[in-house]
């Protein structure tokens, strides 16, 4: 486990941007640090749309906005003082993407599994995730990424940024 390798689980939400800003402030002056911004692509189900065209259009829009957000997140880290060469952007494509195939892709069933697999395989010592602050009922119905990361990781440090 490499403590200077930091994985930020980024989903383009306000909480995720907060996590990025916090990380930048905390580690900008740390020598040999390396930060990966990981965004796991989540595309809408094909079942939500009456036809392929509308689905592809929505997917395209989502991909565009998420990639823009990733670029903004990167800029925040650089502004905080993190060297550009110390930042990696990892956009994990969905296995159901109509645009591209990838050797490593997200099945869409569990973002947490995708994050923790990336953490293990990349030997990240720290995972950073923003917390929305869901109620217990919401966590029961819809799950909570931050709660599950804390419950399920055993091999790294977790920063939850509220």
């Amino acid at each position: 486990m490499n403590n200077k390798r930091i994985l930020i689980a980024f989903d383009s939400s306000e909480h995720a941007f907060r996590a990025v800003s916090y990380t930048g402030e905390m580690v900008a002056d740390m020598p040999d640090v390396h930060i990966t911004l990981l965004l796991v692509e989540r595309l809408p189900d094909r079942d939500f749309f009456p036809d392929e065209e509308q689905w592809r259009a929505e997917c395209g829009e989502r991909v565009r906005t998420r990639k823009e957000a990733l670029a903004q997140a990167r800029a925040i880290l650089e502004t905080a003082g993190v060297k550009p060469e110390a930042i990696t952007v990892n956009y994990m494509v969905s296995c159901k993407s109509p645009f591209e195939e990838a050797l490593v892709c997200s099945t869409g069933e569990s973002v947490v599994e995708d994050i923790l697999r990336t953490q293990r395989e990349g030997d990240y010592g720290t995972v950073v995730v923003g917390r929305r602050g869901v109620s217990k009922t919401e966590a029961f119905m819809f799950g909570s990424v931050s709660n599950r990361i804390v419950q399920e990781t055993h091999t790294c440090t977790v920063w939850i940024v509220s």
Binding site: P50, S110, F140
Partner: protein
């Protein structure tokens, strides 16, 4: 009235009053205008529509114009035809509004997955002449689970000893069936007690209506598991018991001051889940399973396997205590 329809009806349904025959329908796009007397043609098979399906809840009838009850003319069998209809609507689940989508293609996929599995309604998908998805469904020969339980006209303690073990034994299989869907990456999407039928004769449980879908969150099967928990609480209680209904049940005085928010459903605020407080003979182990769906739960079931691991021993214990009876 078309000559073709008249000829089909004369051949296959001679008792049908010919004056009510309408036209032959090959394009089901405008399903609102397809009604009694129309004949839908799908490939070489013809379906005489005799009514729109309606959902009955809380004493009110809610017509489903895209679902037609039909005679399959060539075989004489009664079938249900679900016509292509996409819609998006919010569904209230407790205090949450969840965006739901009606997806014919999703239901078609599941019909293919569950073909031959008697735990699910059976059907096939045929495209009409305009390419519309039409699901031709076998009618489940049974009664809704909630109506079946309502008709068991005995006191709760008698129901608990003599009927519940058998019902739960069958319910375990219904839970396993949903687990099978999940392993295929699919969700039922609308698990409720009126979407589970008790087959006449066998008493086996059969799921219907799998065309709902919703956004997948970090807990993709959460809504299905919530539905399974609701049905389980209903079965053990022989009803959905709310704080408000205690008065009518004559229990308000006995339970005054004894119930707290911890005893209530985590999603439906007034529904009592801690049934052991109402019926002390509910075993602790079974009550613990129910309490996973309460406000006091810290750990939730995320898969049907987790639910089954806890529920199966409870059913065995009930059968051991009260004897295994056919239901």
């Amino acid at each position: 009235m078309s000559a073709e329809v008249r000829e089909l009806v004369r051949t296959y349904l001679p008792e049908f009053p010919i004056q009510y025959c309408k036209s032959l329908v090959t394009d089901t796009t405008q399903f609102m205008s397809i009604d009694y007397g129309h004949v839908i043609e799908l490939g070489d098979v013809h379906y005489m529509v005799y009514k729109n399906e309606a959902e009955r809840r809380f004493g009110l009838e809610d017509p489903k114009y895209w679902v037609k009850r039909c005679h399959e003319l060539e075989t004489g069998k009664r079938k249900i035809l679900k016509l292509e209809f996409f819609e998006t609507f919010p569904v209230q689940v407790g205090k949450f509004s969840v965006e739901c989508y009606r997806s014919p293609d999703k239901e078609s996929r599941i019909l293919d997955i569950v073909r031959g599995d008697s735990r699910f309604m059976q059907g096939i998908t045929i495209k009409d002449a305009a390419g519309r998805n039409v699901r031709v469904l076998e009618i489940v020969n049974g009664r809704r689970l909630d109506l079946t339980v309502d008709r068991i006209d005995v006191e709760h303690d008698v129901y608990f000893r003599e009927h519940l073990p058998g019902l739960l034994r069958r319910y375990l299989e219904a839970v396993r069936a949903i687990g099978m869907l999940h392993r295929h990456g699919e969700r039922h999407g609308d698990i409720r007690r009126d979407h589970l039928y008790v087959e006449h004769g066998t008493g086996n449980l059969c799921w219907i209506d799998f065309d709902y879908t919703f956004h997948s969150y970090e807990h993709p099967f959460g809504l299905d598991l919530f539905g399974l928990g609701n049905i389980l609480v209903f079965l053990v209680g022989k009803a959905n018991i709310t704080v408000q209904s205690l008065e009518g049940m004559g229990l308000a005085e006995r339970l005054e001051g004894r119930l707290s928010s911890d005893d209530l459903s985590i999603v439906i605020p007034n529904r009592i889940v801690n049934l052991r407080k109402i019926y002390p003979y509910v075993p602790e182990a079974l009550n613990r399973v129910l309490m996973h769906f309460s406000n006091s739960a810290e750990v939730f079931y995320t898969t049907t396997d987790e639910l089954l691991a806890d529920l199966e021993p409870c059913v065995e214990a009930l059968e051991s205590e009260y004897g295994r009876k056919p239901e």
